[in-house]
Symmetry: C2
Subunit: 322 residues, 2 copies
């Protein structure tokens, strides 16, 4: 493989990390996945990542390393400032550590930004531009335990002054709403991320309306998760369907705010909540068609194409773009 140009890509997640060898077309030539085991702490985990990268690069000559990391993160210095779900990861100088160990230039950005970049370069946006080329402007939402975002403007990743841009999860959509979630009134994440969907479903299930969801959790409303809602909706449960439609509608308002801000050629949504599929995307698209300003209404809205490899492929895209 030494005759093909490649980069090393690393996706550092709270559950698993992934390491890949990726060519200029975003193809994964080799890949390794391991449980992160966050209890081991940054030093041990980074060493396992380095060992994995050393094995994958054998026989190849990767040019650079790209890393997708949970945020908040300083992408200019490659430092993970903290990771809410990974205790001990505080001011970890990921870039310097990997450059030292691997002897290659290293670039780091947050996973939502890079999933967006991956979708633009190699996923849903790769052939959606004029002449079948890639789009130059794309907005990305990831909707799972939290809601993150990414934007590519004129073919460049939007980072902001400190790398904290495109936090679409904190769009205020209901200014007189609750500040319970993160202190930001009526924000998108507080209404549409997985835990918010679960909490809302639990409340609704307790009001007494018959729902399959209660059977699925043995009558204990507090056990209802976003996955319960998704499965019950797929099985035709009325209340679950109503909750999924509501989620799609509110996500639609968030998407409208991002469209009005970035005027993208395409909007892409990924993350576990989007596995709800058309049950979620239909009301979402309907909301945009109905309530966006006229010239933005027909903006295509699509499911992410890269699935679980989005972060990894995005990290490779960043390495290629550097």
């Amino acid at each position: 493989m030494a005759d093909i140009d490649t980069v090393l890509a690393i996706d550092l997640g709270g559950t698993n990390f992934r390491v890949g060898l990726v060519d200029q077309n975003g193809r994964l030539l080799a890949k390794d996945r391991q449980p992160t085991r966050i209890e081991e702490g940054p030093q041990v985990i980074l060493q396992r990542i380095i060992d994995s990268a050393q094995r994958l690069r054998e026989g190849a000559a990767p040019l650079r390393v790209g890393v997708a990391s949970p945020g908040p993160l300083d992408p200019f210095e490659g430092v993970m400032l903290m990771a809410p779900n990974m205790p001990g990861w505080h001011n970890v100088r990921i870039r310097d550590i990997l450059e030292g160990a691997l002897g290659l230039p290293c670039v780091v950005d947050n996973d939502a930004n890079l999933a967006g970049l991956g979708e633009q370069r190699y996923g849903a946006g790769a052939h959606a531009g004029p002449g079948g080329g890639r789009v130059r402007n794309l907005v990305y939402f990831t909707v799972s335990t939290g809601i993150g975002g990414g934007a590519i403007c004129d073919d460049r990743l939007v980072r902001g002054s400190r790398g904290f841009a495109t936090e679409f999860g904190y769009f205020i959509l209901d200014m007189d709403g609750s500040t319970e979630h993160a202190g930001v009134p009526g924000n998108l994440e507080g209404m549409c991320a997985g835990p918010a969907i679960a909490r809302y479903a639990q409340q609704r299930a307790l009001t007494g309306r018959a729902t399959k969801m209660m059977e699925m959790v043995g009558g204990v409303a507090g056990q209802i998760t976003a996955k319960t809602v998704s499965e019950a909706a797929a099985a035709g449960d009325g209340l679950a369907l109503e909750i999924v439609r509501r989620t799609g509608r509110i996500l639609g308002y968030g998407v409208i705010n991002a469209i009005h801000a970035f005027d993208p050629e395409i909007v892409v949504l990924g993350g576990s909540v989007t596995l709800m599929g058309d049950l979620l995307f239909d009301p979402l698209r309907e909301t945009v068609r109905r309530y966006a300003l006229e010239p933005y209404r027909e903006t295509p809205i699509q499911r992410a194409a890269l699935g679980d490899d989005a972060g990894l492929v995005g990290a490779a895209a960043l390495a290629w773009a550097s």
Copy 2:
């Protein structure tokens, strides 16, 4: 002046147009202002602009022409698609017409975008960056008859796929609110632009609470304008002060959405409504400090520095950046 590098700048407004000769530091070396007289139509008006530019360029050797125009606009082709307040301006190829007449390369963008660019290069952002240089990331709001926006990311103007980006006036802030304004639920412009402030003040004045505003308009509530509110608030009128504070608070929510999207070093607000000054900016800043996500709370929020010349200076900035 032929020994100094200059550009020609044109600001095409519904009331007046301005033409200027501008150096690399954003200084206006010469300037002409004329009433637009929209009833004369595009051909006559553009000819008057060309004549003015020809006079201003005498003895100088400008390199390029920059034009700030009302939108919607195609900045890539320099075509004004339509101008809601200027009848007859429909698909006017401003760039081609001016290039033909002046024999210079011409660039066009919308006035809010360019006011933002002007503030970044030569106004509030010019010395607010590290080491006293310009900031590289700035968000701009103009608040007057409508609300427009502009954003500079990593030193480049954000345009979006068609030049329709940064329409902050249509941020949804109250998703279950009225769709009366432009069909977009509870949007910023429908609550905080001049006409919205006037409408709200008229409603409140009619509820019977004593207010100077009613005296100022001879008892005819329908005559209250945003200027009435501003003047009454400055004179200490309780109801007017309450309305200005409410406007500042809602503008603050819109600013939060833009900050979360762009992570700028500074937010700048201009336009006639911002003449309300600290009465408006105090509650606005207070809202951002209280309700933005923690790392964004201290983002500086400032009045525009360029005043009525913002569009003109911004047009020059665009010409210099091209």
